[in-house]
């Protein structure tokens, strides 16, 4: 056991030493710490329900849907690939060493405690928004964080147990996946059926997710009931959820620890998958990793010189999309539009509703597009060898990204326009501004690479880029605010933001193109 904890101790020590050795890392982590502390203070100290008090049914519905989605995706992937607490270094060095598998599992579980920090950070970022929209109790923040911890600890355990059971006999994997899909379909079907009767989404959410079966349903119901205590208080549901999750996690850990374990094969595939995912994230193609590639798409590559890159990207986009450019990100923006329509109170629907959707979409795009297609391209040598000017290469290497943004923007704002009954001219201006802002993010990403090179921590680089992007977009936001005050027109306000994005996009393009002069500038 001491050998395994030697790894944990040394890793922590070397990580801290490494941060102090590199000033840029130190500053970066200092920024992150400050940000987290600010978020912590904001999450705990800010009052709740002052702006508006959404119904508890809506809150319960949102929380339950989020946990259903999270458990559904992670468990399905867990059954397919196995779930893991481990990295390949553990497989190669610890699994083959004379150490009891139970001790190694305990070490893995201990490591996962560190992994929960990421989930806590994500949850923490949502709390101010929830506090603005719902009447969260003073201890509510703790309850949301507690539910997040339970989720992060339980899903790898459940995945490991399910995977272990599924792989022992042919056909079990299929049965489990069908059972999970069936359950998801049942919930979706029940929701739609109820909706067709009530024709009231919030009411249906309450009816479907606030009924005793949903509240006491093992794992998903338990986890969301813990989070629901932030608005409902310490009800029987909460205590059932709390004891249920504690019993589940402890039972699974003790059971696995005491069992005569032979789980290495069960985690091997998951570990290899995780290793590939980490590699993809480092190389900048996180967004395309794990997507199914459809070989049935038939499209000839065309274009010569730099434009060949554009046609290659178009083909790649089509191969990973469901139809044309409609892919996972298009589904996300569609769902975002529908959620916005649900959450936004009636008085705001009459006003500047589409610009609110635009601001939210730009925030999401900022987080999503941080690891675009060009990052992947720059990890390979081809783009540097193509006989064309850097400007030409950069233009064509990013053109597909702009077209994708235009497509997603069109989906999002056309749907939002219909839902909010917005004029066509506003819809059009939103689509154009969305595309132009996407270009700003793309080119600022390249400029950041040119300035900072390759920082070993991709997370830190993304964090720096998010902050820089927020800062450079501020003048556009200020201009939009001034225009809105003068003209009181949503259209002109959006145009001001779009105009700033255009100027910024072109400027960043001009400054960042030099990165394609040679490979050295990105490493």
């Amino acid at each position: 056991m001491s050998a395994m904890f030697f790894i944990v101790r040394k890793t922590l020590k070397n990580l801290i030493k490494g941060v102090f050795k590199k000033p840029i890392l130190f500053i970066g982590y200092l920024f992150i710490t400050l940000f987290v502390v600010t978020m912590l203070i904001a999450s705990f100290a800010m009052p709740s329900g002052l702006i508006r008090r959404g119904s508890s049914d809506l809150y319960t519905g949102i929380v339950t849907v989020v946990f259903i989605f999270m458990y559904y995706t992670t468990l399905k992937l867990g059954i397919e690939k196995g779930s893991t607490y481990f990295r390949m270094a553990d497989v190669n060095m610890a699994f083959t060493a004379p150490i009891k598998p139970n001790h190694i599992l305990l070490y893995g579980f201990f490591k996962q405690l560190g992994g929960t920090l990421l989930f806590l950070f994500i949850a923490l970022c949502q709390i101010p928004n929830l506090k603005n929209n719902f009447d969260i109790k003073p201890y509510g923040t703790w309850m949301i964080l507690l539910a997040t911890i339970f989720y992060a600890l339980s899903y790898p355990l459940i995945s490991m147990i399910l995977y272990s059971w599924a792989t022992k006999k042919t056909g079990r994997k299929k049965i489990l996946k069908r059972a999970i899909d069936g359950l998801a379909l049942l919930i979706a079907g029940f929701f739609l059926l109820s909706l067709s009767r009530t024709r009231n989404i919030v009411g249906t959410m309450g009816y479907v997710f606030n009924n005793p079966i949903a509240r006491y349903f093992p794992v998903i119901g338990w986890t969301s009931s813990i989070a629901n205590a932030s608005i409902k208080g310490f009800t029987t549901e909460f205590w059932t959820g709390l004891f249920g999750m504690v019993a589940l996690i402890l039972g699974a850990v003790v059971g696995l620890y005491r069992a005569n374990l032979d789980y290495y094969e069960d985690v091997l595939e998951g570990t290899e998958y995780l290793e590939a995912a980490v590699k993809a994230r480092r190389e900048g193609n996180k967004m395309t990793f794990g997507l199914k590639v459809r070989n049935s798409v038939k499209q000839k590559l065309s274009g010569t010189g730099a434009s060949a890159l554009f046609f290659k990207h178009l083909l790649e986009l089509r191969k990973t999309a469901y139809v044309l450019f409609f892919d996972r990100s298009s589904v996300s923006v569609m769902l975002a539009a529908i959620m916005f329509r649900l959450v936004m109170p009636k008085e705001e629907i009459q006003g500047f509703s589409l610009s609110m959707v635009l601001f939210f979409a730009l925030y999401m795009l900022l987080l999503l597009q941080m690891q675009g297609r060009l990052s992947t391209e720059m990890e390979k040598h081809y783009i540097f060898l193509i006989p064309a000017s850097p400007h030409e290469k950069l233009f064509f290497a990013t053109l597909a990204e702009h077209i994708k943004n235009l497509f997603d923007g069109a989906v999002l704002f056309t749907l939002s326009g219909i839902l909010f009954k917005a004029p066509a001219i506003i819809v059009l201006s939103c689509i154009i501004t969305y595309t132009l802002s996407g270009a700003v993010y793309t080119y600022s990403d390249i400029l950041a690479r040119r300035l900072f090179g390759r920082i070993h921590s991709k997370g830190l680089l993304i964090f720096i880029k998010v902050i820089v992007n927020l800062l450079i977009i501020v003048p556009g936001g200020v201009a939009a605010g001034i225009v809105m005050m003068i003209t009181e027109s949503e259209f002109y306000m959006i145009c001001a933001l779009g105009g700033w994005s255009f100027v910024l996009g072109v400027t960043l393009f001009m400054f960042s193109a030099g990165i394609l002069n040679n490979l050295e500038t990105v490493s």
């Binding site: 270094a89 699994f95 083959t96 060493a97 042919t170």
Partner: protein, 236 residues
């Protein structure tokens, strides 16, 4: 020392390894060769105790997954994977702790020096090149002074000096009575060192012979390899 008896491994409906049996004795160097998809990796992973399987694998007379067997077994995987934040020396210290080694530091120093890694003791895993990671991986496997050691494509990424050093180590291991199993695609790389050749194809051992037996029949490993994997009569 290593006994593999009726090893069978099935992934869902795919039979990756079918009824494989072989032995590697103490002081013997065995090579496991075969085309891609022959079942070598599955065999190697089964011996390393990473997979569940049907059949029996013993190391020094003990089941391969037992603590006692693992204590005398060294493994160099195909793709080296080190702990990103652990230094080269930390890796060796971890191995020493995990295997309960005493007075290991001098051996570690000697191994690092042989692979020109003595000046990189404090470098962490993520700062090492693939070749250097492979060297650390080899040093870790040898630090325990194994009685049975398995190398999966050990030459990949190594510089010429390290390859030469590793070949010498193979011979030293053999002379010290260690059983060595090497899995590789590059026949030339092990041409001078092997004692027993095991050729796998389509999940089965299709050829199992010693160097002496082959010499008597005037057979070359390369010719036998192509004959057994691409059909009788196919030689290069």
């Amino acid at each position: 020392m290593l006994k593999v008896k009726n090893l069978t491994k099935k992934y869902d409906k795919v039979l990756a390894v079918k009824d494989v049996s072989f032995e590697i004795n103490s002081g013997e160097i065995g090579v496991l060769i075969g085309p891609n998809g022959a079942g070598k990796s599955t065999t190697i992973k089964s011996i390393a105790g990473l997979l569940r399987f049907d059949g029996e694998i013993t190391i020094d007379g003990k089941p391969n997954k037992s603590i006692k067997a693992k204590r005398v077994f060294g493994y160099v995987p195909e793709t080296p994977a080190l702990y990103e934040s652990l230094s080269v020396w930390d890796h060796l210290e971890f191995v020493a702790r995990a295997y309960g080694l005493q007075d290991w530091a001098d051996t570690a120093e000697t191994l690092l020096a042989r692979f020109d890694m003595d000046d990189k003791k404090n470098k962490v895993g993520k700062d090492l090149s693939k070749g250097m990671q492979q060297k650390v991986s080899i040093c870790c496997a040898l630090l325990i002074k194994p009685r049975m050691v398995m190398f999966d494509e050990p030459m990949i990424g190594l510089d010429p000096k390290a390859i030469k050093e590793l070949k010498e180590i193979f011979i030293e291991l053999k002379n010290s009575g260690c059983a060595v199993l090497i899995s590789t695609h590059i026949l030339d790389s092990i041409a001078d060192v092997w004692d027993k050749a095991l050729i796998m194809n389509k999940g089965e051992i299709v050829f199992n012979s010693t160097r002496d037996a082959m010499a008597l029949k005037d057979e070359s490993l390369e010719d036998v390899f192509f004959a057994k994997t691409e059909g009788e009569g196919a030689t290069r």
